[in-house]
Symmetry: C2
Amino acid sequence: MTEPSSSTSARFRPPAIHQVKVEGFFGTWIETLAATTVHTLLDRCIQAGMLDQIDPARPNPGLRIPFQGGNSTVSTQMFWDSDFGKSIEAASYTLARHPDPALEAKIDEIIDAYARLQAEDGYLNSWYLRIEPGKRWTNLRDCHELYNAGHLMEGAVAYFHATGKRRFLDIMARYADYLCSIFGTGAGQMRGYCGHPEVELALVKLGRATGEQRYIDLARFFIDQRGQAPHYYDAEAAQRGDDPKDYYFGSYEYSQSHEPVRDQRRVVGHAVRAAYLYAGMADVATEFADHTLTPALGALWDHLTKKNLYVTGGFGPSAHNEGLTFDYDLPNATAYAETCAAVALVFWASRMLGLGPNRRYADIMERALYNGALVGLSRDGTRFFYDNPLESRGAHHRWIWHHCPCCPPNIARLIASIGTYAYGLADDGIAIHLYVAGEASLALPGGPVRVRLETRYPEDGQIAITLLPEIPQTFTLSLRLPEWAQGATLTLNGEPAALTDQVQDGYIQLRRQWQAGDRLELDLAMPVRRLHAAPEVGANQGRVTLMRGPLVYCLEEQDNGPALNSIRLNSSGLMRCDAVDELGGIVTLAVEAVRERPDKEEDLYTTNAKDAAPVTVRAIPYYAWDNRMPGEMLVWLREC
Amino acid sequence: MTEPSSSTSARFRPPAIHQVKVEGFFGTWIETLAATTVHTLLDRCIQAGMLDQIDPARPNPGLRIPFQGGNSTVSTQMFWDSDFGKSIEAASYTLARHPDPALEAKIDEIIDAYARLQAEDGYLNSWYLRIEPGKRWTNLRDCHELYNAGHLMEGAVAYFHATGKRRFLDIMARYADYLCSIFGTGAGQMRGYCGHPEVELALVKLGRATGEQRYIDLARFFIDQRGQAPHYYDAEAAQRGDDPKDYYFGSYEYSQSHEPVRDQRRVVGHAVRAAYLYAGMADVATEFADHTLTPALGALWDHLTKKNLYVTGGFGPSAHNEGLTFDYDLPNATAYAETCAAVALVFWASRMLGLGPNRRYADIMERALYNGALVGLSRDGTRFFYDNPLESRGAHHRWIWHHCPCCPPNIARLIASIGTYAYGLADDGIAIHLYVAGEASLALPGGPVRVRLETRYPEDGQIAITLLPEIPQTFTLSLRLPEWAQGATLTLNGEPAALTDQVQDGYIQLRRQWQAGDRLELDLAMPVRRLHAAPEVGANQGRVTLMRGPLVYCLEEQDNGPALNSIRLNSSGLMRCDAVDELGGIVTLAVEAVRERPDKEEDLYTTNAKDAAPVTVRAIPYYAWDNRMPGEMLVWLREC
């Protein structure tokens, strides 16, 4: 059914990390990551005992049962490799920005340990080599074995791109070669796949970085095998002597292995696993121009975005399965909406752009990025949200560390590499998906092209783009026109350009012979928008969310006092934008509203209608909440 | 600090079951219980394997691990005795109404088994005699041992009152005598108390039924010991070789044993345990005129009713601890609000009336009874709610049986004995707390008094009361004037009576020499009320609950279509009362509203304000929901 990998003009790939220099809004964030977060991540990983687990030069810690009662976060965990992988990946992206010998030495120390750990045959997993030796490949369903491999591969690719040093890449390529030898449809090969998808997209990255097609073929193999009958996890459980029915999550929907991926139409189960899987599917669809994956990917996208996505771009309302429940189940105060899920949605969306620019995907990518993902990191880069409610009574705050520290390195690696999400490169085209200030040095077949992008986005919507091809060349430049940007204007070298005819799939398509110095000025109007939720989302009825540009806004107690639900927005009330110094100059909104006066009497329920007095409330971007005093927070505001 | 038990005029006790013949609204419910529910309860108890567990004449089933995977509800459980006790209690109340030899034989069979089971020393607990022999009194904290004793005592008292047969009562008195010998402050006695309060109120009942003061003294002992330092559960755990810190619920707040009861001011922990304890405390306060319990009881009452009570009279929002969380945490869709908790609140409230009529307690008793408790039983008496959300997307329905079937017999025994909650008897007074149609045959010191109460309540608020003393006698008749009944009127033998001067603590106090045939006509106006929630209850802001008389109303999908949250009530809209045949003639409300039209487009979030069209919606009593087609339900309705 699928074609071999081939170069087609429709295939868009992200640039490598060193090709995009990020400034502006995200530049500031990345500076914080480089100065603080990535050090913190590696240090806390080591403090949690990860080096003890992986390094054969250290005494074997054995099984450390974690977190029972005491406050220690030191433990052994079958997923520790993934956290090292992600932390190295995040740190590498900052190294690509500017050298940091101390940071590089810290990473090299970890890589040394992995070099010591790797088995003769190439196998590399600290849990099964040190804590449960002899049990490798006995429980793909539950034990994150290939998931760990994937994250180490991503870390190795990033470190290679950042430093040019091949050692970690070679280690992981050797492991991947081993995986290629034991997984497959050949005699004696295993037909398994990981309960936690991730290795699929990682193998595509590794294949692209090394030029080894067989890694990308293995990614396709994992995708193709998933959910096939007879079910691999049934057979694997029986092999262990377990009853396949004795499965905590009951259904293989939890790991999206309940049916073959091409039959899937509904986003189900663990949210992060889902989006990682779909990202891998999209990569494979792009690499092999495999249109048999398209119906599933399109239906899954619609199912998520039309029925199961928080306005913040978070998803997965339930803590029980860290994932999906039923359509339109989008509770605010108890929203799980794990940071990792929003990050994973950015991954998935970016890969849906592999077959060409389309704002159906890019608008959602931006929504998840600026809201449900970015909220996971404190402004000072030291604290992290794991779950992300859209309403808080005041008790929800960022963690210093989490017993399952998956989110901190995940948001860090996303932000640190945001430049690679901003652009898509095809053989005869450049797409700009995100308006990230800075400069991209891109390689088209006709020669190198620098793209200089100047903007204060998302503070305002004015974007100046200067094209600097080394020699004049003809290609299509695609600029995303967000759905919210009604009344946008564009000039080319000072001349107004009509937008209507040139917009396709929500992108302005500009094909011409570009000269060095060609300058585009795009102005995306950014009025404050009041969003209503579909009637099926009961709790949000009679309420609105304020958005401006890509940013979802919320009220915080610090600005508005307690009892945020006693505030009602006037449906025609004025809204004004202010810059607020205490939050680093970000744009806040001043909104006319009324505030109901609390009853004098203390009764819980009364027949008295409440008086209301005019008040102006301040809304701040959702991503910026919980950076000042602890207190209430509310995204969906009452409107009358 | 406490006085010995003494007869005081301020002490009000409930009548016995055979003293009140119930007709009207609850008469119909009790007929359903008698015809269906109580048989169903006993049959399902036996089907669940309870007789196998308790009857030494049957093979010992050993430890039956229940509910793992399969659909069987057959198991052994340490709390099975309590379910038999409650089911026998409920069935006995219907026997008091009219004989049913088959039902009586079924109960006698169970009593036979308990007679065979009882140990030489009087001990009686099927778990520790048959499933874990030799371990009695090793874990009062977790194992419901005295809780089971209490429910069997209550069953025995009810069966004695209903049938006059003493056998079960004697069995339980023998067990109580044994308890009196081993619990106490004497040398070699245990100073423990049950992790699940219940035996306290049961011992008071048993003491009243048998005239044995020592049972009531033992109830006081359990109350007095609770939460004292050094903590009994710490010592007990150490004795077992367990670490007292290794306790699933972390804090003894779970069982309200975190501090001595007289120090308690906040309702905490497991909701049913809490209300059972406070009911026992109120009983002891009444029996011993013990005013040292009053500050705690008053503060606990206010804490519950002013900060933690659902408008339905349910409480305990969290499934995790089946109980309390933090003040004003009253989520609607995820409300746990166990049926048993509302039932237990009726128990507690009724006992707060022991020191005299006061609508502070009686109004709440009525609210919990007609709403949060009664909703637990289907109209046909065959299905039961365990948890009671105030909003449903359509997936919440009554159970045929529950793996922990505590609620079915609990709501059944409450309704079947509702006549005993309607009246309070003191030496020189009769209080009418609930307007339950029927006839009470009460014994005052001056001679017998029959009270005939005619009403369609809660269908309307017209109540006719005829007093029939055998000989004329002087006493105070106290009639509750609910807080909601603004503009009520009263006549005595046809003459208007002024209310204002005669109202004390929310009861109309009528003291005179009553003659046979004296007739009171009380008319409680029942306009529909719109209740607002305090601003601290965020999710309810901008919403109202409709009440009429004691009934909370809700919308159901069957009457109003789906997407109930797209309906907005006009704040000044007309409301009309209708009787609806399909729900047995109960009063429904027709309410003017608007309904927002769903967006044509399928987007989850849009900037389009929604059109709205006028519509008349139908509200039904909350207790009556989920008796027709499955669908959505909503208590807190949007208002504009």
